[in-house]
Symmetry: C2
């Protein structure tokens, strides 16, 4: 009926044989050979069913060097968000009484409380240490500058400042680059992937947490254009993964608690609570934290889970609040939450009128444009870094260079600025630099540069009209934009939230000042702080492209819901405008790492693909009672490296392929082999205890590799009965199921393996994350990414 004309163009030919997750011999040839298998517009027949002669439009584009983003890495595995429902599991569940489930539920709440508490403590620790160290640093530099302002020779101050910064940043970069590279950046892309169901190696380990915390302290104190908020989200996630398991594999301590939670399903739920607690601590935004977790991670919305996440967030803000109130000598005052505090917007100054809405929308569009520019620049920079700056010592040197340049640029700006402002009696600046200003005045440019970014943002929001002159703000925006862009992606732990807010606040305030200048009445435009807030929202939205959660986070951070509506409008506009040009910053980095990230829905135009086309086949299947030798050989096969194996029963002897009766994972087989659960041995050692779920939980999550398991030649001849350990009722789909339907099933249930069967229930293929993540909408319609072993 529909005349579907496939326009296939073959671009570059991959030069590496890329073994698939679950080896599909047939497809490997076409896929690895065919490289970026790009299907032009899938269908050229419009709804009126007119035929077009379209031979001329076949795009035989020239070969190009494959970018990293056109690849999909095979290095990443999925999490098992689907429970392994084997006999052991079902028996345990059936044996458990209602009270048992109640206790489990209560311990989940306890764990969430602990997660919140510890995350809050970490946030508190980071905040206090940063404040103390930065205070010392700025004091030293300030005194030095003041000394040399009179006598001349400010270049010495510059050198002091630059060297101080470089050394501190070097410390931070060294631990990140040499000890735990995964701790670089804000960690938000990694957590986003984890919550999406991708197992990122080492992302939730204790070591990562330690490096992250030390690293972020160094980078903030080192004066880089970074924030300490993003890393809090990662920290919260690590805390969650650690606490919920009741043990630390790194420290080799097992507290023998929470053993029930030692599986991916539960762990991932807790990690989402941890991420929320992190956001909550960073911005004092418990609801925003919950929404962040949901917007970035969740697929299936579960009310009880959401409430637990909410509880963790709440405890986290509460803890941070409480300890910071003690630190600030005002114990018990809990009304000032979060690491970043936008300060209170007074009610009188916050009113806005209908005619301001178009202005806000215009500012949103500017934010979207600037955000897209930021992302594109950072994208090129990241490509450059992947190609040329991949050795740790180079990375450390780059970080030091950035630190020195940041100090130099800041100093130059301050030096050449002649924007002197009177120092009021209740000035908010902590380190007002007089420099060449008259007595009782301070250098306005220095307020923006010579400060932690959090304080600078607050100054821009709240300082009296007239505190900054437009030129200062313009120059500051420009330089900080490029500095922040250069900084993101360095091998240091640091977030992009605060720099984005700062850039936006600067140009937002600039807009406010300009509006006040050009408008005749001037009275209602009088508050540039309002426009600084809108600008900050626009810029941040343009870079990270979150809407709902970001709205709530910003509203909670300002402590006033009046701006809810304008902030929403601005974020929406920024997202729409930005998405027109390029993806959000986090998505860019996820793509550059070739992570098989599953989006919310299958590409719209993918209905013509069916499970038959996307699945991997043939599948390596195991028999219900299988020879140990076969299992060992299958697991040892490095060229395929499968992780899930359909278990089959042979029906009639001639029948091929065999009927599906279960699914078993590599990790389970490893444990079985380790404990030598062989049919023959079971008969001879009847007294031996049966393998229990505990054995699997003890091995989780670091299952030994197959190479470390010794199987003797005699044992190879034994048989293993998998029926008790396999998931007896794996989800299946028929071969003709359309890709969107397969996608929906996998995404909604968080499946790792989906077995494709024919109408006799025989295994014909296996769909995994990579098979689905391969398809995405490119500029020319549906594109297929190449799988690579990178």
């Amino acid at each position: 009926m529909a005349n579907i004309t496939k326009k296939v163009s073959w671009s570059s030919r991959g030069d590496e044989g890329t073994p698939l997750l679950n080896g599909c011999e047939a497809r490997r040839e076409s896929s690895a050979g065919g490289a970026v298998f790009q299907i032009g517009r899938l269908s050229t027949v419009d709804l009126e069913e007119e035929m077009m002669s379209d031979e001329d439009s076949v795009r035989g584009r020239p070969k190009e060097i494959p970018h990293n983003e056109k690849l999909l890495s095979l290095k990443y595995e999925s999490l098992d968000y689907d429970n392994i429902e084997n006999q052991l599991f079902l028996e345990e569940e059936r044996r458990m009484s209602y009270m048992g489930f109640r206790c489990l539920e209560i311990s989940r709440w306890v764990v969430c409380g602990l997660i919140g508490f510890l995350t809050g403590l970490i946030a508190c620790f980071i905040d206090i240490v940063v404040e103390q160290l930065a205070g010392i640093k700025y004091q030293v530099v300030k005194e030095n500058i003041e000394r040399f302002t009179e006598v001349g020779g400010l270049s010495i101050s510059l050198i002091l400042w630059a060297v101080l910064n470089s050394i501190i940043v070097m410390a931070g970069a060294i631990i990140v680059a040499f000890f735990e590279p995964i701790a670089a950046g804000s960690g938000i892309p990694q957590i986003k992937c984890y919550l999406n169901g991708v197992k990122i190696p080492r992302v939730v380990r204790l070591k990562t947490l330690v490096v992250k915390v030390c690293g972020v302290i160094c980078s903030v104190v080192g004066g880089l254009a970074v924030g300490k908020e993003g890393p809090m989200i990662h920290s919260g996630a690590v805390v969650a993964a650690g606490v919920s398991q009741g043990r630390s594999t790194s420290l080799k301590r097992d507290f023998k608690i929470f053993e029930y939670f030692r599986r991916d399903t539960e762990k991932r739920d807790f990690v989402s609570a941890g991420a929320a607690a992190g956001v909550s601590a960073a911005f004092g935004a418990p609801v925003g934290g919950v929404l962040f977790s949901l917007e970035e991670g969740a697929s299936f919305w579960n009310q009880m889970l959401t409430w637990r996440i909410f509880f963790a967030s709440m405890i986290s803000t509460f803890t941070l609040n409480f300890f910071l109130s003690i630190y600030h000598k005002n114990p018990g005052d809990l009304s000032n939450p979060g690491l970043i505090n936008f300060g209170r917007f007074e009610n009188d100054s916050v009113a806005y009128y209908l005619y301001e809405i178009p202005l806000f929308i215009a500012m949103g569009a500017i934010g979207g444009l600037l955000g897209a520019l930021f992302n594109v620049l950072n994208y090129w920079l990241t490509i450059f870094r992947i190609r040329y700056v991949h050795r740790p010592c180079l990375q450390v040197m780059e970080a030091m260079l950035v630190a020195a340049v940041t100090a130099t640029v800041s100093f130059t700006m301050i030096y050449f600025s002649d924007d002197c402002q009177p120092l009021g009696p209740e000035h908010t600046e902590e380190y007002p630099l007089q420099l060449f200003c008259a007595d009782g005045e301070y250098n306005s440019m220095a307020t923006a540069f010579f400060n932690t970014p959090e304080r600078s943002v607050r100054s821009l929001f709240h300082n009296q009209p007239g505190s900054y002159n437009p030129l200062t703000l313009g120059v500051f925006t420009l330089t900080y934009f490029f500095l922040a862009c250069w900084t993101y992606g360095l091998a240091v732990s640091a977030g992009v939230f605060i720099p984005s807010l700062l850039i936006g606040a600067a140009w937002g305030r600039l807009c406010g000042i300009l509006l006040a200048t050009i408008s005749a009445t001037g009275s209602i435009w009088a508050d540039p702080g309002k426009y600084a807030l809108i600008g900050a929202a626009a810029q941040l939205g343009g870079i990270v492209r979150m809407t709902l959660s970001l709205t709530v986070i910003l509203v909670e951070a300002t402590g006033n819901v009046t701006y809810g509506l304008p902030i929403m409008l601005v974020l929406m506009t920024a997202k729409i405008v930005g998405d027109y040009f390029v993806e959000g910053l986090y998505d860019i980095h996820i793509k550059l790492q070739s992570i098989p990230f599953l989006h919310w829905e299958a590409p719209a135009t993918s209905h013509w693909l069916t499970a038959r086309e996307v699945m991997s086949s043939p599948v390596t299947c195991l028999n219900k009672v299988e020879k140990v030798g076969t299992i060992v050989d299958t697991l040892s096969n490095t060229s395929t490296n499968h992780n899930g194996f359909p278990v089959v029963v042979q029906g009639a002897p001639s029948e091929e392929p065999a009927k599906l009766c279960g699914l078993i994972l590599r990790s389970q087989l490893i444990v079985l082999l380790k404990h030598k659960v062989f049919v023959e041995l079971a008969r001879s050692r009847l007294s031996q205890r049966k393998l229990q779920l505990k054995d699997f939980r003890d091995a989780y999550p670091r299952f030994p590799p197959i190479q470390s398991i010794h199987v003797s030649q005699d044992e190879r001849e034994c048989m293993m009965d998998l029926s008790e350990f396999m998931t007896a009722t794996p989800y299946t789909v028929p071969q003709d199921t359309s890709l969107p339907r397969v996608f929906k099933l996998v995404r909604a249930l968080g499946l790792r393996h989906l077995v494709v069967v024919d109408d006799e229930n025989r295994v014909v293929g296996l769909v995994t994350r990579k098979d689905l993540a391969r398809y995405h909408l490119g500029k020319h319609g549906l594109e297929e990414l190449q799988l690579a072993q990178t």
Copy 2:
């Protein structure tokens, strides 16, 4: 391994044969015969696997009269949230270009914008009409009272007030009781069910909307203890269902737009946007609206959908704001959103300290207790109403009675109150009643009663300390509590949010005053308004048991996030305490209507049940090419009344049951029969146009009954080829799948029919909503509800 001892007690025997949705002959006998099939504690073997002698603990409880809540009605059908993926659908999707999908996406946004706009308009209309009419009423009564205060004979004023109220309420009750009973109450339980996937008849029709709007105006103006906020949610949902279809079946107008959205999947998504827009308009809480939709309705969290919902919410608040600002002669001022406005809490007065947290928690517990009491009383009242007050005229009379009693009680309270307060220069009371007070003073009790509830709440939050004396508040709480409890469930359109807030605000303020009295210093407890807010949150939380969304709604309504943390704590506590005694009010009403509501997860102790036990079997299957007579007979069989039919192919002639190859719905078969899509006719009339998706969409959602379709005796011999119209790839599960696993699949994907197959892919059963909703955790473990044709 596990020694599962089933403790089965047979309580009352149902006296009606209850045909199942998809007739399971075998089970019907045991189920309908066995009535409440209650399994004591499912397993008595604890984790140490010790055996207990438990014969003595078998609970052979005496027979009891079956309550309505122990039944599950067969009257309700599921929505088809799963797309019907037949050939027609796939062909349409494949034919559509990428631009086509973009246009669809844009029209979804347009629809959401329209939904928000219209919902905002309706809210605006209700608000203005209520304010005008209530103003006239209070003015008349006030003048009358003032006249008679001097000369005596206040009983005439009382009669005037009572009669006025009764007449207005009568009007509201008549349209609800006689024309559209589904418009009674707040509509939140109904919308909750709709979003859960239950098709509630007539719930989203235009007529319902009209009755709802008029009804709520009457009940609020009539002085009942009700709010106009709950019905807004229902109104928003109806607007959404109407707008998204691009036509009105009631008005017989088809605008020929949005035809793509004419199916349950899309409609339900839009309805969730409508509900959010309703909340948003009611409380000025766009984020709260989104969270309400998600918390109460969503299963699968989809980012794009959430953003659209957010957009609708935003537009709705915006529209309401804009028109109200014009109405209030302050055009363009948008910073005062929502139907209910809690007024601004000033920043200085809102600070709270750590030592107040235990107080808040205690208040949360009180709220939970009072909420549970409210719910239990209302539960008994509703049972009474179901049994004795089911005739429309009785319902109208009850409503009038309540209106008269409310007026009388209010009047008595005011009359006997001697709480006179000085009338300040900037008093907020619109109708201050002097009554027996000295000149320049007003009766404080009258402020609470002689006012729309919204204004009373605001007075309790914001009036100066000392505006109310404790006795006034105590008496008011007590009387209003019982009035509100009596009112909820009347045959009038009205919400329970505002009365709950009012009760809570009253006793909360009382707590605040008492605290100020007993504390020596008195300075920090000085603000009773703070405690009024906490009390309001606690009471509302105790009654409706929402947490996340309610927190955000309250925070947005107060316009200040400082109270976020305490409100959360209070709502959590209220929920935990309340849940210990009884369910939330909405859940009680859903249960009393025997609606098959699917909770978030299967009952914890249901792992011992498998698909084999819960499914309906045998299933009525159809062949791929089936005789028209057979189809007509199957559809006409009123004793079974099935709605989905697995389509099978007979393999070997002896093979039984046959292999699954698809699934077709009653509605599809009806359309096929109506258009006489018979194999024989197709051959003879080759020129005739093929049946298209449009034909199905035109018939949606009011498919004609089978009785209205005429099939001649000749045609009965024809054959129908279903292969093009059936969903070729229905989701299936094996027989041994555990109930939680089946539940998860159905819940996450919103399935209506799930086919259970054996390991040869042969149909053995069908799982629908009722099969899953039947099981729930009662006091004595897992219980099975009885299916009934009520």
